[in-house]
Symmetry: C2
Subunit: 523 residues, 2 copies
């Protein structure tokens, strides 16, 4: 498939990137902090109360009517959100309704997609959806890698998605927001209801900047829906449906800590590093996701904090019961929560005023007046690959196939200490490589790589090396760990067979193009 | 003083208004709902985290440094807010600092001004302040009326102020926000601290849309300041000062109900009208301010609700202890609070998640996708004058002198039943007149006038007349009450001696010009 990509140029990270993406001129990556934005934030159309019901009741008969009234038309951008994760029913419902209406060539702009969205492949084949800009996890990523999607995929971090909307790079024509509870005016929350999912922060940018905003709920409540995270004053239509999602797949009943001894060892090393490097001190902060290692790390660090009598100033979620326990036991003064992963997280966000739902605006938007990410003392992240320059990849595997989104990963690299917690190999494929298949995070922002075989500290962080000197932590070089793994597995991984045809780009947090995802023949 | 006013034209309310105000072309009032806005909301400049401290600490040495860094220069617009009411020390501090810096010709854009701001007259005389757009209560209003202010005053409602900022009619260069508590990142709340004032909603528009935002606090707290109503992500600089205000003048210790028998009778009649007209039913809503009659009305209505077993869906503040009692006694499901008037209100907003700080965006902005004001079943307001067409005035007295701001008054006229609760005369001057001195609210939006001499229902509201037919309420015509008062006082009030020189304009909620305030010779 031929896509207009302008030309391929080499950016500041020595990566070849297209200058034209889906009809829009691009700025190649200029280095961390190298790009100075100009201009003004996007101003959505001015509306008037005279065109909205005075009684505040914005309910319409169904999603089709809402999309029609919103003026959904060929070639428009329709956005949805991933709070309901793999249990989401709303995104597909919206896209299929649009297809039934005969609308063609939509750009789907999800905050992330999940395996449950695999049927969008059919909508792309039928022409209803032109392409996707947003994380493509699993089947959609593979479809994109195969080169069959008409436009280019654009992979953005959560903060990058806010930035793109705010800066007017992506104009959202119609936003469809799935809400576990909403009132007829459109005030909405994820804190309660049969499909409660916690924070709705990923939909906030769309609610503010989209031309038209539709709230879809299976749980209408009388005005005012409290607390509201989405404000009805930004909402055009409210649609009631039977069910917005499958609760069993929205949040875990309980999140499970890994039982893998190697991964538990990594979690233990991460916690010890944070303690022994002096990061774990009164008032400090950390962020850890909901991956197996990150989950296991939290209770270990909590134990160390308890032993040392240390209380965190705040912790950043993805929240789980392990963070909630810390809050309830007084080990942290607050949870600033971007995404709620389990039922305990949902309960806490509903009950505890110090468990605060946040958004990519507060936490991640690079084109703001600061954000929370850079105030975090230590963040624990994963990666699919890391190279000897500490560059890391989170979107493709070593076979080059796109399988994951960026999430908040890039944004979190702004933390004072960025720790990648990784097994040194997966499925007998080494994770430490000579050069990452896709560059998602520049090595200068990655401070520490913790594997089950030892801890590698970025030589740029002499201060950290200094601080753990003399500790009993297994500090090693990345090269040393890499060689050990290659000896064990019989050599470095095969380089993937990639075409020279871009299928997606990876944006940096400032909207510049950091790298290209290439078509994988046979994907 | 000669001001460029273009020409005087007659608008849809038959009022003569200038076509040019402070250099900006104006749209004359076109009737209620007659103006259709076009264009896009204002987009403030895109910023980048690279230009803000990574540790989130935005504190600078003092307000002067903050204003200098913000680039404050001649002719710019500087905004402040009136949460601290007559106890505010920050607005004057900001303007005097600007004057000390040698800055000239500022437009001061307060959300309201109070007698404590009288020294701004000196700053206008010295040239540091060019003119004021915003409510001018007391001495500043008289100064404006005298014709000595260089520019035209522009009087906007709280919702109109949001609309003007949002629509780009007023470009705020630098916003200075007084915060009873703030963290070094700029997250701020009015819920606690030595100068706690409750909601900070009036500063929200400025925080979002101004080029530069400075938070001034006397109570710095560790990040994260919870709950935040002003978001640090919109803030450029944080300044610590000894004191932002005089707590004794910020909120009342306790708000006092009127002891005037006439006013108590009016309050009783208002409550009886709301009950007997069937407005007081389960799930209904009302709004009442902090004036003596409105205050007295609340506990009377609360008693009637208790007797009838009725619970309100929500009530809108200005909150006082009387609304707080209703919330705590289960007589309302929520308080949606725009402004907090006493210490009990402040306590409640801090402690009770169903006492919600709101903003003019949620409540009043006419250029939004609906707002709360039109969802209110009954609102109880005051006025300085009302005429036989139910037109009302809130900014001037019958002598033509500007003495009050509009506040949320115009916005509240969107309620389903708008009730003016007024003594029929004040200081022996009749309140019901042939024609209001200044038109602030078109009579078609005012449904009921309640005086101590009886209740007049707007003939447009036959439904209300129908509903109270047969009740023992003293329903009379406005003419009848007017004649009775004039007989008592010896005739209608003297018409004021006004010049033909505009000194200020009254904006309608949609940004059009509703009326003109004329210079008063000798004021």
């Amino acid at each position: 498939m031929k896509r207009e990509i302008g030309e391929l140029v080499t950016n500041a990270a020595e990566r070849r990137v297209p200058t034209l993406v889906n009809g829009r001129r691009q700025v190649p990556f200029r280095g961390v902090g190298g790009y100075e934005p100009r201009g003004s934030k996007h101003g959505p159309p001015i509306r008037s109360c005279r065109d909205y019901p005075a009684d505040g009741d914005k309910r319409v008969a169904g999603l089709r009517e809402a999309l029609e009234r919103a003026g959904l038309a060929d070639g428009m951008t329709l956005s949805t959100h991933h709070h309901l994760r793999n249990g989401d029913r709303v995104a597909l419902y919206a896209l299929e309704t649009a297809a039934d209406m005969g609308v063609r060539d939509l750009m789907w702009f999800p905050s992330a997609s999940f395996p449950c969205h695999e049927p969008v492949i059919g909508l792309m084949q039928r022409g209803a959806v032109h392409h996707i800009e947003g994380s493509m996890n699993g089947p959609l990523g593979r479809y994109c890698s195969s080169g069959r999607m008409r436009g280019l995929g654009v992979l953005r971090s959560h903060g990058g998605r806010w930035q793109a909307i705010q800066d007017g790079e992506v104009h959202v024509d119609v936003a469809v927001i799935a809400a576990p509870a909403a009132d007829p005016f459109g005030n909405a929350t994820g804190a309660f209801g049969p499909s409660a999912c916690g924070s709705l922060g990923f939909a906030l940018a769309d609610s503010i900047y989209a031309d038209r905003v539709i709230v879809v709920t299976d749980n209408i409540v009388p005005f005012p829906c409290l607390p509201w995270q989405i404000q009805g004053n930004n909402v055009d239509y409210v649609v009631e449906v039977e069910s917005i999602g499958d609760p069993a797949k929205i949040v875990s009943g309980t999140t499970q800590i890994t039982r893998s001894p190697d991964r538990l060892r990594i979690a233990e090393l991460v916690a010890r590093f944070i303690r022994d490097a002096g990061i774990m001190r009164d008032g400090f902060s950390f962020q850890a996701g909901a991956g197996g290692i990150a989950l296991a790390f939290v209770p270990i660090l909590a134990r160390m904090m308890r032993e040392a009598g240390v209380v965190a100033g705040f912790v950043r979620g993805g929240s789980t019961k392990y963070l909630v326990e810390m809050l309830e036991q007084g080990l942290t003064r607050a949870i600033l929560d971007g995404q709620t992963f389990d039922l305990e997280g949902v309960r806490s966000i509903r009950e505890n005023p110090r468990h605060v739902p946040t958004s990519p605006f507060t936490s991640y938007n690079w084109h703001g007046k600061g954000n929370f990410a850079s105030m975090v003392d230590a963040v624990v992240l994963g990666a699919t690959e890391v190279d000897l320059h500490f560059n890391a990849n989170v979107v493709t595997h070593s076979d080059g196939v796109l399988l994951h989104g960026i999430g908040g990963w890039q944004n979190c690299l702004a933390a004072r200490c960025t720790i990648l917690a990784l097994p040194s190999f997966r499925d007998r494929i080494p994770v430490i490589v000579d050069e990452v298949t896709t560059l998602c995070g520049p090595g200068e922002l990655i401070d520490v790589v913790v594997t089950e075989r030892g801890i590698a500290i970025n030589p740029r962080r002499q201060d950290l090396l200094e601080r753990v000197r003399g500790s009993d932590l297994p500090i090693r070089s990345l090269e040393e760990i890499k060689h050990e793994v290659e000896r064990l597995l019989g050599g470095p991984p095969d380089r993937p067979e990639l075409s020279d045809e871009p299928v997606a780009v990876v944006k940096w947090v400032d909207g510049t193009v950091l790298d290209t995802v290439w078509r994988v023949p046979g994907a």
